[in-house]
Amino acid sequence: MKKVGEVVLLWLLILFIHNAAGEGYSPPGKPTNISCRSPEKETFTCWWKPGSDGGLPTTYALYYRKEGSQRVFECPDYKTAGKNSCFFSKNVTFVWVNYNITVVATNSRGRAFSDPVDIDVVYIVKPNPPEEVVVNVTEDKDWPFLQVSWKPPKMADTRSGWITLFYEVRLKLENKNKWEVVSAGQRKTLQIYSLRSGGTYEVQVRCKPDHGFWSEWSPSSRVKVPEYFPQERSMWILIVVFAAFILIIFIRMVYMNFHSVKRYLLPPVPGPKIKGIDKQFLKSGKSEDIFSSLVVSDFPPTTSNYEDFLVQYLEVYVPEERELIMNEGKDLQDDSFKTENSTCDNDSGRGSCDSHTLLTDKGGGDKEDGQQSDQEGSQAEADTKSQEEALEEELLACSHENLQSSNVSNEKEKVKSWPSLFSPLPQYSFSPVNRPNPPKTGKQHCLSDSLFTPNSMPSYFTQPGPSTTKGFRSNYWECSFDHKQSHPLHPQSAAHEHLQAQNDLNTAHVDYMGAPLDVHVLNVRPSEYVEVQRVSVEDGVLLHPVSPSQEDSRTLSHQTEDYSRVRVVNNDNGLLLLQRDAIEEEKSMCPYQEDVVSRASITPTLQNSATGINIALPILDEMAASGYIDTAIMFGLPTH
């Protein structure tokens, strides 16, 4: 019984073992990732990555063939280079010969062949790291530097030129993470300067053959830089003292010349000049006299007066007068704005200057009145600084009777008719140009970028006949506000927009009143600066361009006056005039001003001079804030 039991047990055991041995065993997996490296172009080593062993003890064998021969060799040395490797000694290593290498994994269940790999020893050179890296701190006149030197790896024969090595050094402060890498070429020494006093550096070196792979970095060599701080401190003290000295001198200079510096940086704003009011008189001051002088028979202009005036203006057509005036204006322009009849002094605003010349024209008196009212209104708004300048708003009213078509294509025709309407304008524009001091002009206008582009202007102007072209070129420019846009402005071109706006305005006016609006927009090209010559009652602003002749626009633009550029024409009665300090500053200023307009939301009303004023006010405020208010933009007369 016992024997049977033992036999059964033994048999079961054998079965079990047999089963265990049979299950889960499989041929080995394919070896992969065969990579070979040669440290000195005389020997090389190949490594492979074994696949699964299939549960059985697996052996690996490496076989190779050399090019041009079918003879297969096996790896001579599996041990020297460690596990899963094969080391080819000098005897079996040949250069400029392709080796075809295959690794075979064998176990009792089968064998697996790796993918063959072709290598040429000269292309797989990766040297050992450089050896004997020595780092010294060399004291050199209290400015220490590191002297690093090394030797090529032992195996690499650089002496004979069999291998050519290039070196790289890297160093970092001990507690930092960033390495600084310095290339050393084929040299074996390197100096490193600009060390941190008292710091501890780690230095490593590596090398690379001319056509091969970089070696690993050598082990770190540590070195401590001695303190050389005192020298630095005395230098800093010297620098601080010197800088303080310079600062003191500078402050003193500024203090001594404080006024001239101030004058340069913040040019004074001319005082206001109001027709009929004398500053000295005010100072001498009897109040009754002052007040009586303020009361002018034609101020404030009533609406009816204004309309009459406008209508009058619209209806008056004196071609020969116009020609004269235009010619005169043109002459003025040619003379670089020297006006013979100018009676302005440096402090006058344009308005007061021009008012004299305005009076010569039939509509001039009215314009003057309009101006005065503008001045008054603007003064109300303007800051004291701006008082003097502001009111050069000369408003020119133009009628658009002829321009009723809202067709953009008709713009050319309209252009042609404009010169006749605007003949008196030229003289206005030029007289103030006379003035020498830029800051003293009160006009600030911005040229609407959206409305006008310089390029579009000239073409626009070429439309009219030659005789009228000159008139045009007298730089009259009007912006029209169309609060009631019946047509959307096309973004085609500035001129088109402009015309469109005008067209709209015209049509709107026609629709509304049956009477032409006073306002039309003149395209004046070359000059981008306009002065407001008049604020029309129907929220129109007649602006005439201020800049000098087109040819000389550049030089003349450096002139004296600050003129605004119309930045944008809002549909909602907004004409954004930007103050111009200098040509360069326009752009910077304009966007700022643009914000102003956008913020000033104006409810469109067809004829509301107050609306115009509303528009003007925020702009004025902003402009005042910027330091100069040269123009009060009055888009309408005060309530009449």
Partner: protein, 204 residues
């Protein structure tokens, strides 16, 4: 012999460039040539599937394989300078025609980087020409045995093939032969440079 060369170069000739300087320049140019050919093979491989490479003829079939060159360091260091120079010049001369064939074929190569490949081959041709001129001068200073050139004709013809696979295979094969031969030239010149650099031992 190189010492003699040095002496003759430095004494008695006023504007002669010393030999080791010439060798330095020559080895720099050969270095550049080999770098270019390595870049070329890499560029070809970037768009060329690996299977194509296996099918290509073995490097033993290069047209320059007939030239006996040293196969390991010991052999190489035993070769005389004149022989090394002669080997370098022979190899260089053997590639003049094949480079022209490669250059014309590169223009119409069915490969996406053919313009870059074409420009590199042209650069190779320029380097090869100027290196050949420089080695002519050098070998003139080294004696008659240095000036002997073994004739290794290229018999592959001007046409690389008709279909895309054949053309690319042949192109790849030629480039691999060029890569090896340019490495040989570079190695020989660098060995020569170190042998001549008695005045500048720090470079070797």
């Amino acid at each position: 012999m190189v010492d003699r060369l040095h002496k003759s170069a430095l004494c008695g000739r006023e504007a002669t460039v010393p030999v080791n300087d010439l060798l330095d320049r020559a080895s720099q140019r050969s270095d550049k040539m080999h770098s270019l050919s390595t870049l070329l093979t890499q560029e070809m491989d970037s768009h060329f599937p690996p299977y194509g490479r296996m099918q290509m003829p073995r490097p033993a079939d290069c047209h320059t394989s007939a030239l006996q060159t040293p196969n390991d360091k010991e052999q190489a260091l035993q070769v005389s300078e004149s022989d090394l120079m002669s080997l370098a010049r022979s190899l260089l001369q053997a590639w003049v025609d094949p480079l022209a064939v490669l250059s014309t074929s590169a223009i119409t190569l069915p490969h996406p980087s053919k313009s870059s490949i074409s420009s590199k081959i042209q650069e190779l041709q320029e380097h090869s020409k100027s290196l050949a001129d420089g080695l002519d001068i050098l070998s003139g200073k080294m004696g008659p045995s240095a000036q002997a050139i073994s004739f290794l004709p290229y018999t592959g013809g001007t046409d690389l093939g008709q279909d895309r696979v054949t053309i690319l295979n042949k192109f790849n094969f030629l480039l691999s032969c060029l890569r090896r031969d340019s490495h040989k030239i570079d190695s020989f010149l660098k060995v020569l440079r170190c042998r001549a650099a008695k005045l500048q031992p720090e470079l070797c």
